[in-house]
Point group: C2
Chain length 221, copies 2
DNA sequence: ACAAAAGTGTTTAGGTTACACCCATGA
DNA sequence: TCATGGGTGTAACCTAAACACTTTTGT
């Protein structure tokens, strides 16, 4: 196995992930407070360097697990940012992902080696971010909105069995507008992706039918 | 400016571009025959290493100019491929782009330093490709199809002024199915993106009105 | 005058939107 | 029995699809 011919400059490569969840009836994003320079003390997207022989997705999953303790996520590559001066330490190219986690799969946000603190923020409360992370976040929000319309990613924000009302709330929270209940249910059911279970939701009032994703819809994103 | 802390492995970073054009009433893609190992003699997507202080897009444009002599292209980032063993020489992460060039902007394909030959291929004639380039090509074709439906990228394959019939042929060639002439014209004109000029197409028969993109639609992709 | 491409409307079908009331349950 | 969320149908509107003939030009 020959080395790379010539003497090409090698930038550092990181992965970053915008992690979304629905908490407190809001779309929230996980941020970490940087414990080291540059931008020490600033809020930033979780992420880190890619290890040798580590696939990009594996690197993201590792970082997500270490920094926000999130397992069982939907992961999708978002965009690669490589402006020569995006990191003051030198050339760093970052492959950004966006991730969706069901609130049920979250444990408390934990600090890690180079993150002094981790916290969920509703979008309007997101502070100014390190590096070009605001640009990455904006792109992720746009992508989330777009994909919600033509894909089934909303299901990644819910537990395996859920009521149609809860699914509708996910759409309403992300799109930030109310949806008509009858039309929503008609549309979702006409897609023929859901299967009613004989489980019913608990709570104080009339129990709702819980639905699950149909077994033959395994690759649903 | 401090160096990157720790001793992170640094993969090599390349950019590759799937370049599409419409030639001979077909959707064609530019490939180069590799002049060096690995995969010497195989066909591959044009691309190369990113230079220090060079933005990713600038690197793609440089490679495109060097290897396929294509200027004036529409460029869009496609996906970043980073499987640990995708290049036998070692870790190489590639940021793949897809590009659209109007046939009018093409000069003959030229060889460059590490490409012994460059050639256009219609999709059904594409030979087996080096590295994971077939996967990249397939992804680019899918993206092209998808974006054709909801964006205006088709215009990047045409000269500044064009007839509706020619625009329709672009759609038909890429989607590989005939479109209804009246419905197509109605739809395109209803989008209100085009402006008729007083130019008329030449040729043996009834001249067609040529249209241009409206000036206020500068950011049209 | 003929060949070839340009240009033009209407009808039908399907999907999206707007909208209001009864039902089941726990407290 | 009341408060709360679950569950249901229909009419109006709009967009997409199907479909054929006349016009203009060069030869």
């Amino acid at each position: 196995m020959s080395p790379i011919e010539g003497n090409y400059p090698k930038p550092a490569v990181t992965v970053d992930a915008i992690v979304f969840t629905i908490r407190e009836e809001q779309l929230q994003v996980a941020l970490i407070k940087r414990g080291i320079e540059p931008f020490q003390g600033s809020w930033a997207i979780p992420g880190g360097f890619v290890r040798e022989n580590e696939a990009l997705e594996d690197a993201v999953k590792r970082e997500l697990y270490e920094e926000v303790g999130a397992g069982g996520v939907y992961l999708e590559q978002l965009y690669t940012f490589g402006a020569p001066n995006r990191d003051p330490r030198g050339r760093v190219i970052t492959v950004a992902y966006f991730a969706l986690v069901a609130a049920e799969n979250l444990r408390e946000l934990t600090a890690s080696t180079d993150a002094s603190e981790a916290q969920w923020f509703a979008l309007p409360e997101v502070p100014s971010l390190a590096f070009d992370h605001r640009e990455i976040l904006d792109l992720a929000v746009n992508r989330l909105h777009a994909k919600l319309e033509y894909s089934t990613i909303a299901y990644a924000l819910l537990p395996p069995a859920f009521s149609l009302a809860r699914l509708q709330r996910v759409y309403e929270i992300i799109l930030d507008r109310p949806l008509d209940k009858r039309n929503f249910r008609k549309k979702i059911l006409s897609l023929d992706l859901l299967e009613p279970t004989d489980q019913r939701s608990g709570g104080a009032h009339r129990p709702a039918t819980l639905y699950v994703f149909k077994a033959n819809q395994v690759t649903f994103f």
